[in-house]
């Protein structure tokens, strides 16, 4: 099973995990990214590309399933405005095997950071806004999966 989508509503982590739990897979690995509250950010806005973003998430999920024995993959990214502590992204990879689940989940989040058209804009508590810059090691981590 493959589930890849962008959503402007809150990501329901429990419901998404339940899909994998029902499958009875031996192993599920996950990654959850949240809006951090420790750096003076009051709101995060995620901009996407209407014609590309969902397709890019789907392509990533397809790549992961082709490379590892993954019975179920979910890649869900929120767009629009969100607050501290809210979930930005959820990645789930299930397999009969631990190695495949762990590698699949890491691959999905590492590649999402470089391959999927999404842009973060932070609003600080003083009202200023700034576009987030890529982290220096994002490209290196993503290239590690080539």
């Amino acid at each position: 099973m493959k589930r890849a989508l962008v959503t402007s509503g809150a990501i329901d982590v429990v419901t998404e995990f339940a899909v994998h739990d029902r499958g009875g897979h031996g192993a599920t690995a996950s990654f959850i990214g949240r809006v951090r509250g420790d750096d003076g950010v009051s709101e995060l806005m995620l901009e996407h590309h209407p014609a590309m973003t969902a397709a890019a998430l789907d392509a990533l999920a397809t790549q992961a399933q082709a490379r590892w024995a993954l019975d179920c993959v979910s890649v869900i990214h929120r767009i629009g405005a969100m607050q501290r502590g809210e979930v930005i992204v959820l990645v789930l990879a299930s397999s009969a095997h631990r190695d495949a689940a762990l590698a699949g989940a890491s691959f999905l989040i590492d590649r999402l950071k470089t391959d999927v058209p999404l842009w973060k804009r932070e609003t600080l508590v003083d009202g200023n806004q700034r576009w987030v810059e890529p982290r220096a090691n994002d490209e290196a981590r993503a290239a590690g999966w080539d």
Binding site: M52, H77, I88, K113, V116, P117, L118, W119, V132, P134
Partner: protein, 86 residues
Amino acid sequence: MLSMNISYFAWVRERMGKGSETVTVPTGIATVRDLIGWLATRDAAGAAAFAEPERIRVALGATMANLDDTLGNGDDISLFPPVTGG
């Protein structure tokens, strides 16, 4: 002379002051890099958005592309900064 639809995202969109436009480019604009160079000299907004071409990423249609890819008449071109999702 080529006519094409350009969409802008994130700080490129903000600096351009618009999300999209249809442009007809002068003769001699053959690649995405040429297009960016032309936009950078067209007006102050373009100068602000495209001062550093190496910070610009591009898609042709719904496919990631390169600055040296060739433009075609009627292309849908997206110009944006490096992505920062996740």
